[in-house]
C-alpha cells in the first residue's frame, strides 16, 4: 500500500516538471514583459532597461527557468504587477475564500446527493426514481455558467433572497458571529450551484451501486434472517455503497477548481478562479503562472487521492 502511494507521488514529479516547463514557455510567449505595467509617460527608458537587466530579463532561458523554478519550489512566485504584493500572499488570501466556498459546496453536494442516490436506488423504476434520473440528466447537460446565471437571476435579483456578489457586507466586524453568518450567506448561492452540478455523478453512481447491492447474497441473507428493510438499507447496503463514493472526492476537487473560474466570475466572489480571470485581463503574468501551476498540482493531488481511496476501498482496482 505505502509502496504504491510512494510510487504515485514520485510519478507526480516528472509530470509537474513538464507542466512547469510548459507554463514557463507560455509565459515567455506572452506579449509585453513584467515592466509593461509600470510604464507611464514619465518613465525613463534607460531606467526601465536597467530594471529589466536586474530582473534577469536578458538571461539565457535555462537560467531564467532555473531561477523561476527554484524560487517557485520555495513558494516564491515573484510579485504581482497589479497589486504590488508577493504573489504567494495574494493567492493565499484568495485561496482562503475559495477553500471556504469549496467546503460549503462539498457539504451541500453530499447532503443533496446521498439521499437522492439512495432513494433512486431503493425505489428503482418508480416515479421518484425517474424524477431523480431526469434531474441528474438536466444537471449533466447544463453548463456551469448557464446554471449559475439562472440561479443568480431568480434567487438573487428576482426574489432577492441572496446577495448578488462579494463575500461579506461592510457593516459586520471581522471575528463576530454576524460576520461569520454573513459570510456563509454570501456563499450559499455559489455553493448551491457547485453542489447541483456535482451531484450528477454521485447520484448516478450511488443509484447503480444500490441496485446492484439489492441482489447480493449478503443482503438476501440479512433479509431472510428477518431484519427489517429499513435496517438492511441503513446497516448493510448503505454502508457498502457509500465507501466508493469517497473515491469521487478527488474528482470533486478537480470539478471545483474548473468550476471556480466560472462561478467566482458570475457571483463576483473573490477567490482563485476570479483572480485568474482578472490576472489574464491585466496581464499579470507572475500570478497567472503561479495559479496554473497550483491548479495543476491540485488536479494531480485530486487524482492521486481518488486512486488511493479506491485501492483501499476496492482491492480489485489496486494498482498493479
Amino acid at each position: 500500500m505505502w509502496k504504491t502511494i510512494l510510487r504515485r507521488v514520485l510519478a507526480m514529479i516528472p509530470q509537474l516538471f513538464v507542466l512547469s516547463l510548459l507554463i514557463f514557455i507560455m509565459a515567455k510567449f506572452m506579449p509585453g514583459d513584467p515592466f509593461t505595467g509600470l510604464i507611464t509617460p514619465e518613465t525613463d527608458a534607460n531606467r526601465l532597461e536597467e530594471m529589466r537587466e536586474a530582473a534577469g530579463f536578458y538571461d539565457p532561458w535555462h537560467v531564467q527557468y532555473y531561477n523561476w523554478i527554484v524560487n517557485a519550489a520555495q513558494g516564491d512566485f515573484g510579485k504581482s504587477y497589479t497589486y504590488k504584493v508577493p504573489v504567494s500572499d495574494l493567492i493565499g488570501d484568495r485561496a482562503k475564500n475559495t477553500l471556504w466556498l469549496s467546503l460549503l459546496s462539498v457539504i451541500l453536494l453530499y447532503s443533496f446527493a446521498i439521499p437522492l442516490g439512495v432513494l433512486a436506488g431503493r425505489y428503482q423504476d418508480t416515479f421518484l426514481d425517474k424524477s431523480i434520473v431526469l434531474y441528474t440528466f438536466v444537471t449533466y447537460a447544463i453548463p456551469t455558467f448557464v446554471l449559475g446565471l439562472l440561479l443568480l437571476f431568480f434567487f438573487g435579483y428576482q426574489l432577492n433572497w441572496f446577495p448578488t456578489s462579494g463575500t461579506v457586507d461592510i457593516k459586520h466586524d471581522e471575528g463576530t458571529l454576524g460576520y461569520f453568518w454573513n459570510k456563509i450567506y454570501h456563499m450559499i448561492l455559489p455553493a448551491i450551484t457547485y453542489a447541483i452540478l456535482g451531484t450528477t455523478g454521485v447520484v448516478q453512481y450511488l443509484r447503480s451501486e444500490i441496485i446492484d447491492a439489492k441482489s447480493m447474497d449478503y443482503v438476501r441473507t440479512a433479509r431472510s434472517k428477518g431484519i427489517p428493510v429499513r435496517k438492511v438499507y441503513s446497516r448493510h447496503i448503505f454502508r457498502n455503497s457509500l465507501l466508493p463514493i469517497a473515491a469521487f472526492f478527488g474528482f470533486t476537487i478537480t470539478g471545483l477548481l474548473t468550476g471556480s473560474i466560472f462561478i467566482e466570475s458570475i457571483f463576483g466572489y473573490p477567490g482563485m478562479g476570479q483572480l485568474f480571470i482578472q490576472s489574464i485581463s491585466s496581464r499579470d503574468y507572475s500570478v497567472i503562472t503561479a495559479l496554473v501551476m497550483l491548479f495543476g498540482f491540485l488536479t494531480l493531488l485530486g487524482s492521486l487521492l481518488s486512486d488511493i481511496i479506491m485501492s483501499i476501498v476496492d482491492p480489485r482496482i489496486r494498482i498493479e
Partner: protein
Amino acid sequence: MTKTLEFKKTGNLIDEVNSSPPTGFQVLVREFKKDKLAMFSLFALVLGILGIYIAAMFIDQEALMKVSLRDKFGEPGEKFFLGADQGGRSIIGQLIIGARNSITIALSVTIITGVIGVAVGLITGYFGGWIDNIFMRIIDFFITIPTLMIIIVFVTIIPKYTIASFVLIMSAFLWVGTARLVRSKSLTESRRDYVNASKTLGTRDATIIFKEIMPNLSSILIVELTLSFAGNVGLETGLSYLGFGLPQSVPSLGTLVSYANNPLILEDKWWVWLPASLLILVLMLAINYVGQAIRRSADARQRQG
C-alpha cells in the same frame, strides 16, 4: 501501469468494463422508437440545426453587427422580435448566427479530436508495448494539466487570433479523452480470436486496425463523439462567455450570455441573455438525449427495446 477508475459523468462504471458486441442499425432504430424523448430530441436537433444554418444564410452579418444607438436595449416587440442589445443589434439575428458559429466550431473540434483520438487510441491499444507506454505517458500528462486555464492562456498569447486558431487550440487539448477511451476498448478487442486469426493469415496491421477492429467499436465511437460534441458546445460557449472564445466581432451564444455580467442587463434586460442561455441548455439536453439513446443501443444490457 496504473489502472485508474474511468469515470464518465453520465455512465456508470459497469459500462466501462463491459465491452459489447457490435450492434446493427436496427437496434438503434428500435431504441429510438422506444424512447420518445430521444426521438423527439433527434428530430428537434436535426430540424433546429438545419433551420439555423438556412436562416443564417439570409442574414447579413455586417448589417446585423452594425451599432445603432437609437435602438439601444430595444424591447422585444415589433421592430425586434427578441429585442436588441446595448448596441441596438437584433438579438434574434445574433442568436441565429451565434448558434451557427457555436455548432460549427463544436463540430469542427469534435471531428478533429475524433480523428486524432480514434487513431491514437486504436494504434496504441492494438500494438501495446512501448508505443502504448509513450502515449500513455503523454495522456497522463494531459490529464494532469488544468485544461481550461491553459486554453485561456493560449488564447491570450496567440497574436493573430481567428476562429481557425481557436478551433485548433481547443482541439490540441481535447483529443485525450477520446484517445483514452478508444485505447481501453481496442486493448481488449485486439486480444480477441478473430484478430489473432487475421494476424496468422498475414493481414496487414493497418487493415486489421481500421477494417476489422474499428467497425467493431463503431457504436462506442458514435456515443463518444456525440457526447464530446455536447461537451464542445459547452466549452466553446463557456470560453466565449468568459471572453476568451470567439473574437468580439463574431456573434456567439456565449457572448450573448456574457452580457449578463452587467448586473443591470442581468436584472432588467432579460431578453439579451436569457434566450441564448436557454438555447444552450436545450441544445445540450437534446444532444445528450440522443447520445444516451445511442449508448443504450450500443450496450445490450441497457436496452429498452
